[in-house]
Structure formats: structure tokens, C-alpha cells
């Protein structure tokens, strides 16, 4: 559903992404792993249209979206759950969710029903409906960020490091929900530093290093790859626990 060819992007003169090529098929969970500063967030922002590409192609359902604005990309069914959750912290949980459906203006949608669907996936959000988003715990905020993105009815949902700063038990919950989203027919692009947990649920993976894709393949192969193990799995002591829980 998403195809990227020789994509280049950056900030001003700084070239961050260098000739990135990748693809995502419908119904897959694809993960991108890489160290700090590798350009993972930049890649997601470029797909979402928030940063303009300087070269290359991005096509969503065979439509070139390289010059498309972020609004239209969301409307076309590609939503981003940004890094660090980025709550609208002075608004309530419910208001945050309603904003998630911002692009759904043309079809008159039944808001109550829409919200209920999200609450079915994240029951804790229902309990916190009227609480200010800024006062939620980290895990609850991550769920809200995901719920908010789902309100736009994405077919492809891109998540930027959803596990950051969360306890292993919560990480397990979040990853279980990602799995369920896929089962419900969504396609997921998952950016993670928690390589082990990400590769455990993903179908395929890409390894990004200083703006280049240096490795790609089925998740299992990457898990067993020596370079990956040394660079991304060996040192990842803090997340070892999450992995055990997942198995």
C-alpha cells in the first residue's frame, strides 16, 4: 500500500534521509529500528507530509503523495502517532479524541459511536473521559495518542516509539493492542528503539543507520542476524523484561 523510492529529506541544508527505499503491504506490521538520530522520526514526518522531501517518491495506494499536504494525507488514510505522545494537555481526553477525527468532516459521523469504538479498544480512556490529557499517566497518554489517531480511520497507522518511557508491563499491553489493530485489518508502521519487542510482533523490518537503510528482511531473520543482535539487541538490557512477558 505504501511504496518509497530513493527518498531524500532533511532540515534546511542538513541531509538526513539518504536514498531510502522501502515498501509496506496491506495488513503487515513493518518495523523500522535504529539508534538515536538515525532519522526514524524524520522519515515518518516526511511520509506524513510534515517535512517536504527533496528527492524521490512516496506513493500511497499508487498515488504519489510527495507534494501532498498533511491534511490530505490524513484524509487519505495515513495517520501518525507522534513521538513523545504530544497530548493536547489542556484539553480533556474526550476532546483529544474528537480532535483526532478532525478530518472526518465530509461524512457526517456519529461522534458517540466513534468514541465508543475507541473506548472498546482502550477501556481506561472511558474512565478518564473528562480528565485533562496532561494529567494522564505515561501509558494512558500513549493509549490516548493511539486512540486519537484511530479516530481518523487510518488504514496505515504509523507509530513513533510508542514504548518509550513505559514500564515493561505497559509496553506489553501496547504491543498487544498493536497486534489487535493488525488483526482488525489495519496496517502498521512501527518505529522502535526497543528492537527486540518490535521484531517480535513485526512481519518485516528495516534497520536505519545515519539516514540509510542498511538491512532489511523478515523480522525473524533480523532477530537472528548477528549485526542486529550486537548493535540493537545485545545492549538493550532495559527492555529484556518486556520481551519475556511477550513470549
Amino acid at each position: 500500500m505504501l511504496k518509497i523510492k530513493n527518498l531524500e529529506a532533511g532540515y534546511g541544508k542538513l541531509r538526513v534521509l539518504k536514498r531510502i527505499s522501502m515498501h509496506i503491504d496491506t495488513g503487515e506490521i513493518v518495523t523500522i529500528i535504529g539508534a538515536n538520530g538515525a532519522g526514524k522520526t524524520t522519515l515518518l514526518y516526511t511520509i506524513a507530509g510534515m517535512i517536504k522531501a527533496t528527492a524521490g517518491e512516496i506513493s500511497l495506494y499508487n498515488q504519489n503523495i510527495i507534494r501532498t499536504n498533511p491534511e490530505s494525507i490524513v484524509a487519505a488514510g495515513c495517520s501518525l502517532v507522534p513521538e513523545g505522545r504530544q497530548m493536547f494537555s489542556t484539553l480533556s481526553v474526550k476532546e483529544n479524541l474528537v480532535l483526532g477525527g478532525y478530518v472526518q468532516r465530509k461524512q457526517k459521523v456519529d461522534q458517540k459511536e466513534e468514541l465508543q469504538k475507541i473506548y472498546d479498544i482502550f477501556p481506561v480512556l472511558k474512565e478518564r473521559e473528562d480528565q485533562l490529557a496532561g494529567t494522564l499517566s505515561g501509558g494512558e497518554q500513549q493509549m490516548l495518542a493511539m486512540g486519537r489517531a484511530l479516530m481518523a480511520h487510518p488504514k496505515l497507522i504509523m507509530m513513533d516509539e510508542p514504548s518509550t518511557g513505559l514500564a515493561p508491563l505497559i509496553v506489553k499491553d501496547i504491543f498487544a493492542i498493536i497486534n489487535r489493530l493488525r488483526d482488525a485489518g489495519n496496517t502498521v508502521l512501527l518505529v522502535e528503539q526497543n528492537a527486540k519487542a518490535a521484531l517480535a510482533i513485526a512481519d518485516r523490518g528495516y534497520v536505519l543507520e545515519t539516514g540509510k537503510i542498511i538491512l532489511q528482511g523478515p523480522a525473524e531473520d533480523l532477530l537472528n542476524n548477528q549485526d542486529v543482535q550486537r548493535a540493537y539487541l545485545g545492549r538493550d538490557v532495559s527492555t529484556e523484561g518486556a520481551q519475556c512477558e511477550l513470549d
Binding site: M50, P70, E71, V81, Q86, L99
Partner: protein, 354 residues
Amino acid sequence: MRQYFPLCIFLALVVLIQLVTQITETAFYLTQLTMSAYYSLLIIGLCTIMGYAGQISLGHAGFFAIGGYLSAGLTTHNLQPFADTGITSLLDKAGLLVSSKDLYGDTLLTVHPWIACIVAISTAVIIALVLGGPVLKLKGHYLAMATLGFGIIIFRIAMATPYFGEADGLSGVPSFTLLPGITVSGDFGARIINYYIAWGTVLIGMLLLINLVNSRMGRALSALHGSEEAAQAMGVNTARAKLLTFVLSAAYAALAGVLLTHYNGSIGPGEAGVMKSVRYVAIVAIGGMAHLWGALIIGTLLNFMSMRGLFGSYDDAVFGIILILIMLFAPQGLLRLHIWKHIQKIKPKKHGTA
């Protein structure tokens, strides 16, 4: 419907105050109340861009001055000496000019106040568009400084341009007939009608803004206030939402400038001063930032007190001190202090949330 309830109370209050001043023979208060109304018009516009969209502007006195000075300049400068030149006669034939007699019986040819008003507000809107495009990309302190710079430029232009009367400003600004029978003027006999014109304008202005902040656009504003990147990720065109709100608030400021200048019959460079902009920002902060009614109430009260001379020669200092105190002790605004919550607890509970 519930959001219009305060508007009805507001309307009732406006009428009540007028009746009370009539009965108690204190109609002289109406003059300052009318002027306060026009300043409040600017302030509710500023409240939308500051409080709801989260973009600080220290340049709104500049937009006020653009409105006031342009309409004053166009309606006072005599075009009679140029009556035969191409452009002037063309304007005259198009009915855009009015001629009148001055004190000595000489003919004065000036731009019609309606035309002047439209030119003034359009100019403010265009400048806001041009300025807002690049400036609204800035954040926090940088945005404050850029808008401050704009305010200083406008002040300097007003002080240095002979057409705008330099340090003396412009006076002898004629009255402005909005509709037959409804004239903005400072005439003694027109005091009551002008009080209602001013507050009627504020009422319409409030109605528009209340609708705006409760619309899809308003939701977009509160989203970008919370996190610009997340708002973009939700499909909000943040650049456009910010720019539209900025331009709208500039138009409110310019309209306030136009009407107050016709009411006062004059305008001076003090209206363009940076201290004025600081005062407006302080009032919005005291009112509670994202709180149109708070801004309106506080704006009316403080401007009224200031114009009654209650703060003496420390006028500007008082606003500075208030701003410091608010930031220290009530950054959410006076109306959101905890005291109010306690008072609300005492009252019987109403259904629903605010």
C-alpha cells in the same frame, strides 16, 4: 444554545447600566464606557489569537493605529486643491468623496468615512497577512519580539509622518454615519446612541468569536495551542489556522481604531505606543487567556478605571505591576482563581460541565 446565554445577560447589563446612569444623572460615565467598549473590541480579538491559538502579539496597538490613523487621515485631509487632478476627480465622480464647509466657509473635499473605513481595515488585513506569514512561524519569545518590532515601526511612522500629524496626531476627524440615524460621533447629544453603537458592535464581535471558538476552526486552534506537531498529524492546517486568526484579530483592532477615532474626533501617537500593546496583553492575561468573557469584563473594567484617571500618572506602571502579579499568583487568570471554585461549591450545582 447555552453559549448564547451569557450574551443575553451581557445585553441586559448594557441596558441596565445605561438606565442607571440616566436615573442617577451620571451620564458622563457613558463617554468612558463607550471608549472602553472599543478597546474591548480589540481585546477580544487579541484574546482569540493569544488565548485560543496560543500566539502572543505585542503589536496589536499597531493594528489599532493603522485603522485609526488611516481613517483619520483620509477623512480630514482636504483634497480640494487637487480637485482637478485625474484621480481626485475620478474618485469624486464615483461618489467616494464628500464635500463640506469648514469654519471659514471654504469648501473641504475629503474621502467618505465608509470608504476610509474600508481602506483602513483592508490595509490592516493586508499588513497582517504579509506580516503573519513569516512571523507566525516563530514561537514564544521570538514571536513576541517580532510583533513588538512591528509595533515600534508603526509608532515611529506615526511620529515621523507629516500626513499623520507627527507628535500631535490628527484632530478634527468628522463623525461617521454608519446607517441613516446611526452616527459615530462625540457630540454631547449623541452620547446614549453612541454608547449603544459601541456595545452593539462588541456584542456582534463577541457573537462571531464565540461561534468561531466553538467551531471546527476553534478546535483546530486549541489543538495547535496544545501541540503544533500533533495538530498537524491530526490533519490540522496549522499555518492557515494561525494566520486566519491573526488576521481576524488585526481586523478587530483596526475596526476598534476606526470607530474610536471617529468617536473621539482625534488620534495621537500614544495609541500606537508599545505600552498600549503591553496593556492589551496584560488584560488578556488577567482575564484568563483563553476566556473571551474574562477578557471582555477585565478589559472594560480596567480601561474604564484607567480613563477615569484612577491610576493617576502611574497608569502604565499599574498595568505593568498587574501583569507581574498575575504571572506570579494567578497565571490562569483572575477569574480562574480557586476562590471562585469555592464560591461555586456553595451555590447549588447545575447540570452539565462548562
